[in-house]
């Protein structure tokens, strides 16, 4: 048995699966041998299969419960954009003492106003309960909203909708949006190739929606042929909408979803 020379082994290991790395100059020897030497070609294929298996295994790690909420809480903006804009302005154009005083005054006023708004917002508010009929109407609004402008961003291989393994669909693109009530959300377009529309909305909301914590609640859509499942876990609302002309909502929901 002839060993793979160390240099060639390194070249094989440096070659990513599903890439055109063989065109890179350092891998020229490997590219040449992979065409003429069956054993080397086999070893390269085997290495790529191993890489794919390792990549898949590395992604298979569960995310701690509540992590998203903790991260969102930790990264909530502490300075209002208006204050930041005034501060930036003041920092870049400190032309005169009067201008500085005006800027400082504005900053103080804006900070005070922001603080007051913050205090008011932090006061405990009774969570509004939103019924299923109202939610079905909101879903219509959100669907229209996210399709109004082309702000979709392509999903990468690492993009996964934060619905755990409950939803059996892979996002192909995503976009953020804000609901009319000011809730921040992300819409994932999970439409499979050649099929009809599948959308997943993930919305951070202080309100209590009248749905189960698992995707058992089906909403009656005003639009014919649209299947809607909704579920809420703490302050995260999940809504899956499926155009059921040629497919079924149930096909996109795991039978035994993760709690």
């Amino acid at each position: 048995m002839n060993p793979v020379p160390t240099d060639l082994r390194r070249q094989i290991d440096a070659c990513r699966p599903d890439s055109d790395d063989l065109a890179l100059p350092e891998l020229a020897d490997l590219a040449r041998l992979a065409e003429s030497d069956r054993a080397i070609a086999g070893e390269l294929a085997r290495s790529r299969r191993f890489d794919q298996a390792v990549s898949a295994a590395l992604l298979d790690a569960s995310v701690p419960a509540g992590l998203l909420d903790r991260l969102l809480a930790a990264t909530e903006p502490k300075v209002s954009p208006a204050t930041a804009a005034v501060a930036n302005n003041a920092a870049s154009q400190p032309r005169s003492r009067l201008a500085r005083r005006v800027a400082v005054g504005l900053i103080s006023l804006t900070t005070l106003a922001a603080a007051m708004v913050g205090v008011l917002m932090s006061l405990p508010q009774p969570p509004r309960t939103i019924g299923q009929e109202e939610l079905a109407g909101l879903v219509e609004e959100w669907t229209t909203l996210v399709n109004q402008s082309n702000r979709w961003k392509p999903a990468t291989a690492a993009t996964k909708a934060p619905a755990g393994t409950t939803v059996l669909a892979k996002p192909i693109r995503w976009r953020n949006f804000t609901t009319a009530a000011g809730e921040s959300g992300v819409a994932y377009d999970c439409t499979p190739t050649g099929r009809q529309k599948v959308l997943l909305f993930v919305i951070r909301s202080p309100h209590k929606y009248g749905v189960a914590p698992l995707p058992f609640t089906r909403l009656r859509s005003a639009s014919k042929g649209i299947g809607i499942a909704a579920w809420q876990r703490e302050n995260m609302l999940f809504v899956l909408t499926v155009d059921e002309d040629n497919q079924r909502l149930d096909d996109y929901i795991r039978k035994r979803p993760e709690a």
Partner: protein
């Protein structure tokens, strides 16, 4: 601006969209849930401050990975003892039986990763997680291409050894021409060359 980037990118949307892959990357780098959570949070806090640097939303995932990596390297520099710590890496190669499907043992993978020195683990995770080429890894870490290729090969050799049984079958068509190579060598930072035939005592 803390809340929005140059391309009108909202941080909370980035958190919602990317927290899971970022956490997984952090978890594989640290090997510990609590540290990974801290590292993920730290990365998003840094991202919040530097959001104006993100020009295109399509590049958000790669940018966040790079931010997290930078946070990880900073934490390493704080933790790293002044004197080098010895590590053993088996680098002698062997014929590798390709795993069927993706049935790799997750615990063994975690253990094998944990055994790698930080420098090696970082390179191999940049390869697998960030899907960077060896050239891009060398550029990002500001180290020679040869060093990246060497670390990548040794790290993967270690993973193969731990995750797949040696295929000693002489009749195997794929292994017939591929078996234990000659001892490999890697030039270290000061230019000397060390043997890597059985085990390498790597000093970071």
């Amino acid at each position: 601006m803390p809340g929005g980037g140059a391309a009108g990118i909202d941080l909370s949307a980035l958190v919602v969209a990317h927290h899971a892959p970022l956490y997984r990357y952090a978890y594989r780098l640290c090997g510990c849930q609590a540290e990974a959570e801290d590292l993920t949070q730290q990365a998003f806090l840094v991202a919040q401050q530097k959001l104006h640097q993100l020009r295109e939303a399509e590049r958000a995932a790669g940018w966040l990975f790079a931010v997290l990596r930078s946070c990880f390297l900073k934490s390493l520099r704080k933790q790293r003892p002044a004197s080098g710590q010895a590590f053993d890496i088996e680098v002698e190669d062997h014929a590798v039986a390709a795993p069927e499907g993706d049935d790799l043992d997750r615990e063994q993978l975690a253990a094998a990763l944990a055994e790698l020195p930080d420098d090696y683990r970082l390179v191999v995770l940049m390869f697998y997680f960030e899907d960077l080429s060896y050239q891009e890894i060398a550029h990002e870490l500001e180290i020679p291409i040869g060093t990246v290729m060497s670390r990548l090969s040794r790290a993967k050799s270690h993973l193969r050894r731990r995750l797949t049984p040696p295929d000693d079958s002489p009749s195997s068509p794929e292994s017939s021409n591929v078996a234990r190579p000659a001892p490999s060598t890697e030039k270290n930072a000061n230019g000397s060359t060390k043997s890597a035939s059985r085990a390498v005592h790597q000093t970071p």
